[in-house]
């Protein structure tokens, strides 16, 4: 009988090393396996975080050779009294609120419809999911063409439905429409993601519960509000958490679409941060900015996860 690969490996191990490994406890072997992951986590996540916090108290500039000087809380003071930063926070809040609102509303509706048994169900799911598979840079680029006042399809569709002249408005150039233009594109791209999570939630509800509700003569409307929504709620909340964190750091799509304009109307915090760090090279200032954003997202995610656990326990 031929030896198994494990036996062959054991035979090939030098005697001294084999004796040493045999002497290790289960806990030590566990550490041996987990150790590399912990080291990697420390090197890639924890160390940069501590370094960023450290830099946020200095006037360090990454493109200058001079040594960084400790300036205390001055970077934080500058950021939190800067009206441009305040404006970009408001732009981010507008973007976050409306994208999540529309994505959850449309995503859940689509999931509810797709969950019904009908012919071509799978084909429709695939078609709806397509935008999510595209690169944000590509989506940003082709939506700039769709938004063109002269040749863009979007303006013609609006003209067709409302009668407003297609060349009379520019989605990207108008100060009132530009914040909505990025909301529309993000909603178009990421609604399928919310739909998929909601679909998973709806499919996890057993049919027997609806059958029991039918026996109790509960109307469809009542079934929706007392069964479907509460049972799909943890999934909905998870979708909101994912999209909230993702949209808080939205960058590529908006840069390709509007470049932060007109003026600084669609300059989200991530775009502002990138400009401070890699265009103005104010590394210390940008580090303080990043710390503020990190604490905000971390705090929000903490209370959100707590709420999610409470909903799951019900």
């Amino acid at each position: 009988m031929s030896a198994s690969p494990i036996d062959r490996a054991a035979q090939a191990t030098p005697k001294g090393l084999a004796r040493r490994i045999r002497g290790l406890s289960d806990r030590a072997i566990a550490w041996l396996f987990v150790g590399p992951s912990i080291v990697l986590l420390l090197a890639v996540n924890i160390f940069p975080l501590i370094w960023t916090i450290n830099l946020s108290f200095t006037n360090f500039k990454a493109n200058r050779l001079r040594e960084a000087k400790f300036i205390g809380l001055r970077n934080y003071e500058r950021i939190l009294t800067d009206t441009d930063t305040w404006n970009s926070m408001q732009a981010t809040a507008h973007f976050l609120f409306w994208t999540i609102f529309f994505q959850v509303l449309i995503g859940f509706t689509l999931a509810y419809l797709i969950n019904k048994k009908f012919k071509g169900n799978d084909m429709w799911t695939t078609i709806i999911v397509l935008p999510m598979m595209l690169s944000p840079a590509v989506v940003g680029n082709f939506w700039t063409f769709l938004y063109q006042p002269q040749i863009g399809l979007f303006n013609y569709v609006i003209e067709f439905f409302t009668g407003v002249d297609s060349s009379s408005f520019s989605m990207i150039g108008d100060v009132n429409l530009a914040p909505w233009s990025i909301v529309i594109v993000d909603t178009w791209m990421w609604t399928p993601f919310v739909m998929l999570i909601c679909l998973a939630g709806l499919r996890s509800i057993p049919d027997s519960i609806y059958e029991a509700a039918e026996c109790d003569r509960a109307s469809k409307w009542r079934q929706f509000w007392t069964l479907t929504i509460p049972m799909a709620l943890p999934f909905l909340m998870l979708a909101v958490l994912f999209r909230g964190i993702e949209n808080f750091k939205m960058f590529d799509l908006v840069v390709q679409l509007t470049g932060g304009g007109p003026g600084s109307l669609t300059t989200l915090t991530s775009i502002d941060l990138k400009r401070e760090a890699f265009e103005k090279w104010r590394t210390g200032y940008a580090s303080a900015y990043a710390v503020i954003l990190f604490v905000t997202v971390f705090g929000l995610a903490s209370i959100y996860v707590k709420a999610l656990n409470k909903v799951k326990e019900r």
Partner: protein
């Protein structure tokens, strides 16, 4: 309401977590609201206190 204050005095987790949650939510609102610059200036310290408090009190007994 009195139960909430009793919980705070007895270092109960739920009461302190509630307080931390209120602080975080208030801090984020202050950060993103378009009405008052002073609120924006003090938003970070409120969020930071709330977040640190949340991490600490999540180890309190139920």
């Amino acid at each position: 309401m009195s139960g909430f204050f009793k919980g705070l005095l007895r270092f109960r987790r739920s009461a302190w977590e509630m307080l931390a949650t209120i602080l975080i939510a208030l801090g984020v609102f202050m950060l993103m609201q378009p009405f008052w610059m002073v609120a924006f200036t003090y938003s970070f310290i409120v969020t930071l206190v709330g977040t640190v408090m949340f991490i600490i009190v999540s180890h309190f007994p139920e």
